[in-house]
Each structure stands twice: as structure tokens, then as C-alpha cells.
Subunit: 340 residues, 2 copies
């Protein structure tokens, strides 16, 4: 059970009113009383309700999470991570699913921020990668943090990086370590920066082993089961089919696995298959899928923490409050779909 | 693609500024222009962005969804339903998970409503069933809608009812129709009103068939896999074990199925098992579980619609704006775990 203002008052031996004065920095509390209350707050790990402070200070303690992503697991993990950080800092969370292709998207977001009086935004791909959106937010002075695919921050504004490039390089490296030399790659939509980063990692791993990618083995598709089914048919029909496949996400990989089994191709014996994302269903396929696990909730929490620190720095009018970007490398998870 | 202010302006042959004046009721638009714009809005089914109006009108267009429920699927379905209705009415959604047992819960909610300037709250069980919480909201004049388990609205304040009683009666009736007479019941936590409603439906179905429930066959537990495993052991050890089981949710049912199979009891041949809730994993067990499906997203949408209508009625200062409660009866889904 979390500490309450009442338990802090009891611990410190003062009235609730006094604790409230301390929390709200009213400056009317004697130094020794202040110390006692501060000690009680620390001892009980009490998180003063910033919403209550807000009423006094008229500051905004609501963040907005804006997303356009059909993956329910991803959204839920993002929300959980954001909510965790919001909670321990006294912030509330507004969620706003949207259509990133809507021509009015910028108006929509600006109106939302203004009307709901948001303190800042958390943006995940594809919104976090849309220069028009970011530019408009900058112009309106709206604070935000981005979750981005990449290994380098593109600027000094708050972001958290997911290093898809490195993870894809590791997955491909794993397939190479298993002795595979003809490795296929099925890409998802290229609008997602993560797609091109994963493809870049795939090429780099081949290059690391002195192998030139065979263009016949690289297929452009969408992040769908159907892409996997179709692409594997095409790949298996080649005069010299691949012995391994790296699919840009688990859904494509599951489709490819299904398609391969339909044609009587054994996985992993005749064809090793790896996905990406560690979706819940990557363990439900037979055999279960080798993949890369991205700690989405942790990424979201870190992003929210960056945003809150940047809001606080702004409030203190701190100059040069650049917060270094955290980098997360999705972790390789080897399962039976690739291990001989 | 949804209509934009620009497409409305083009359709009506007027400037965007004029459309904006119409939307904001500025009263400076000539009647025939107003008619043209109104016609364009109707023809294109344009939803004026209420957030934009809000800036002018200073009304609140943010609703809050407050929940304390560990079931991620339930929360996600609730959010989706609420967001759908919010979107088509120009509202934003703030989500606030909480611990209903927190002694400061009322302060927490009041502070949240005030600091985030919420227009109203959507409450799901257990919060929607806590008299103290509801009383405090009433006192503070905070509008809300409740999702409740029941077949009758307890008062004339906005609510949406989920008729667990009727659904449980149907599930039990299905087991009786299959010829079962010794039917066991495993309950979840009794704090949830839905638990007692499901149990009431179970007893009523037996009574409908002139059967008196055997107290030995009714077990109190928690909504957990473990309760299912333990309870089925206890039930199968009886001198005259049950031939069918109705578990208060799918998780208990899955545990009971697991426990029965561990003891070599065939399902459904020797023991029919039914769950409740139609959780995603109710189709993943072997055999898949008979259950009752609750259209959570639709329930959430209807609840949100009631709340918004009640907010609008209040704004118009309409007297007697009682909105009749919608009732949803979860639908029986028969699968192999009960069909001989």
C-alpha cells in the first residue's frame, strides 16, 4: 500500500495541514518541522499528489500519448510504461489514437494540447518520425519526447532510441553462426524507419561475414501474415532457395512458417526462420520463433522520464538542459525455429 | 478518410474562415452561407473538432476512464470502445489506473478531475460499485457513468448494465440441457458484484429445473487458474463427483480443465466445463471452453455515449434528463468443453 498524507502526518507527528503546507511549498512551516516532514516523506517513500499541488500552482500535470499503431500489445506496453512513470511523478495521462495520414493531423494535435492543457507529448513511430508534426510542435512551443528507431539521436531534443539496426545485425549474425549463407529478408512498410534500420542491420551482418546479399532473396512487403505466406512461396520457388529467413517482424515470420509448412518444408531443418518484436504469438507457433525482444514498457517509461525532466528543466528556466538519449538494443531470443 | 474543414469549405464554396465561424457559432455568418456550410457539413459527415470549439468556449472536452482491473484484455476493449465514442463526439480521453483499496482513493479522483479539468468519468467495476466513491462524486458535482453488473439500474444516474445473472442462467441451462444434474460452481471474489450475480443465475437455472443445489458442489475461490486446479481436485474427490462444472470465469475454468486432465478425467466426456468472459485463451485450451461473451468495447461505447448525452443535457439545463440504462446480456458460446 502506498503512503498517504495521513501516514506522513502521523509519522512526523504533525497535522495533515502542515504536511500539505510542506508539499505545496507554502513557506510558512518552521525549519525543524519542515525537516521532520521531509524525513517522514522520505522514510515512507510518499509521493505527494501533484494533482493537488496543481490546484494551487495552476501548472499542468497531464501528458498526452499520441499514437497510430495497430499493434494492441505495443500500445498496451507503451501505456503501462508511461503510466508507471506518470504515477510516480504525479502526472495524469491522456491517450490519443490518431490517423497519421490525416491531412489535419497537426491541427488535431495542437488543438488537443491546448484544449486539454497538456504539459507535453509522448510520440511513438510513425508520428515521432514525421518532420512536419515535430516542426509544428516546435513552433507552438509544445514539449515532446520521441521514441525513435536508430542508433544516434538526430538532434538534442528529448528522445529514446531503439537500436533496430544492432538487433537485426545480431539476428542475422545468429543465422550466419548456424552456418547459413543464403539468408532471405522480408521487409515491412518502408515508411517505418525501423524497417530500413532492420534491413541495414541485415546487410551489415552479411558484410561482416564478407557476404554480398543476393537481391533475389530480399523482398518488400507489409507487416502482415499474408506477406509472409506469399513471400515464402516466391522464395522457395527460386532455383536456389534460401536456407534461412529473417522476417522484419513476427507476423511476417509466422506467415512464412505457415507457408513453408504448407509446402512440406521442415522448420528449422530445411529452413530456419527468425522474426522480430517478440510478440506474444511468437511463442505460440510451432516451432516457436527466434526473435528480438524490445522492452517496450521500459522504453516508454524512460521516454516519459526524459519528458518530465525536460519539463522541469524548462520550469526552472535552466539553460542547456539537454538530456542524453537512452538507447535500447532489442535482445536476441533464440528459439526452435532457428536452432538445429 | 474523414472530412476536413478544408473539404467542407471547398464543398460549400466558402473560405475556411467562414466554416470556422459557423462551427464556433460566431453568429456573424449570413443565413444562406450558414445553410450552405451546414449542408456541406452534413453531406461530408464532417465532425467539427470540438477541441477547437473548446478553445473558444472554454468547455471541458476530456473524459476520464478510471479502472482497477488486472485484466489487460478487458482494459484494452474498454479503452477502444470509449475512444471510439470520444472521437466521434470530439472528446479526449484520460486514463487513470488506480488501486481501489487505497484509503486516499476519493481524494485521488477528485484531485484528478479538478486538476485535469475533466468533464466526467467512466467507472468500471469495482469502482463503479463503491458507494463511498459514488457519493463523493455526487457531492462534488462530478458527472459519471457506471458499468455495472445487474439486470436493473439501482438509481436514475447514468449506467450501463451487464446482465451476468441472465448469462449465468443460460450457461447453467445449457449444461442441464446436456443432461447434467450434478453441476458444480466455482466462484471468484465475492467483492465483485458480477460474482454474486453469476452465482444467482446458476441457482436460478437449477431452480428452473426443479433441482436444489448441493452445497458440496459450490466452492468459493478467487479469479485464478490456481483456484480452478485446487477446486477440481476437491470436487473430484467427492463420493459423488459432479459431471459438469460452471466456473465463474475462463481462468478458473482453464485451471479446472488442467486439474481434471492431470487426474486423467476426460473433458467433456467425464466432466463438462464452462467458463465465463470469452477471454482470448478460452479458445486456446484443449478442448476449447464453452463460455459467455461480453461485448466489452460496445458496452464501453454505450456507457460513454450515455455520459456525453447526460453532460449535454446538463449543459442545456434540461430537467429530468434521465437516460434509460442499456442492458447487455453476455452471449452463450458453446465449444467442445461441454458438447458431447
Amino acid at each position: 500500500m502506498s503512503a498517504t498524507i495521513k501516514s506522513v502526518a502521523e509519522y512526523a507527528g504533525v497535522s495533515i495541514k502542515t504536511v500539505s503546507r510542506v508539499i505545496n511549498n507554502e513557506g510558512t512551516v518552521k525549519p525543524d518541522t519542515l525537516a521532520k516532514v521531509q524525513q517522514a516523506i522520505d522514510a515512507l517513500d510518499y509521493r505527494p499528489n501533484k494533482a493537488a499541488r496543481d490546484l494551487a500552482g495552476r501548472d499542468n500535470y497531464v501528458l498526452g500519448y499520441v499514437y497510430d499503431n495497430p499493434n494492441a500489445y505495443y500500445i498496451l506496453a507503451m501505456q503501462n510504461g508511461i503510466l508507471k512513470e506518470c504515477r510516480s511523478n504525479g502526472y495524469e495521462l491522456l491517450i490519443h489514437p490518431c490517423d497519421a495520414t490525416n491531412p489535419d493531423i497537426i491541427d488535431e494535435l495542437v488543438n488537443m494540447v491546448n484544449s486539454a492543457r497538456l504539459a507535453g507529448l509522448i510520440l511513438s513511430p510513425p508520428l515521432s518520425e514525421m518532420p512536419d508534426v515535430l516542426h509544428a510542435m516546435d513552433e507552438k512551443g509544445i514539449q515532446y519526447v520521441r521514441v525513435l528507431s536508430g542508433d544516434k539521436a538526430p538532434d538534442d531534443k528529448p528522445c529514446v532510441l531503439v537500436d533496430d539496426y544492432q538487433a537485426a545485425r545480431q539476428i542475422t549474425g545468429h543465422l550466419l553462426d548456424q552456418g547459413h549463407r543464403r539468408i532471405a529478408f522480408i521487409a515491412g512498410e518502408k515508411q517505418h524507419h525501423s524497417t530500413t534500420e532492420r534491413q541495414r542491420g541485415f546487410y551489415q551482418a552479411l558484410a561482416d561475414h564478407g557476404i554480398k546479399a543476393d537481391p533475389e532473396l530480399v523482398i518488400d512487403g507489409t507487416y502482415s501474415f499474408g506477406t509472409g505466406v506469399q513471400s515464402i512461396q516466391q522464395l522457395l520457388a527460386l532455383p536456389e532457395p534460401p536456407t534461412a529467413l529473417f522476417a522484419c517482424n513476427d507476423e511476417i515470420a509466422a506467415g512464412a512458417l505457415f507457408g513453408a509448412r504448407m509446402q512440406g518444408v521442415d522448420v528449422p531443418e530445411a529452413l530456419a526462420i527468425a522474426g522480430f518484436e517478440n510478440s506474444p504469438f511468437s511463442t505460440q507457433t510451432f516451432p516457436p520463433l527466434t526473435t528480438a525482444s524490445q522492452p517496450t514498457a521500459q522504453i516508454a517509461q524512460r521516454a516519459t522520464s526524459s519528458l518530465i525532466r525536460s519539463l522541469q528543466a524548462r520550469k526552472r528556466k535552466a539553460e542547456n538542459h539537454t538530456i542524453p538519449a537512452d538507447i535500447f538494443v532489442p535482445e536476441l531470443i533464440v528459439r526452435e525455429s532457428t536452432s538445429r
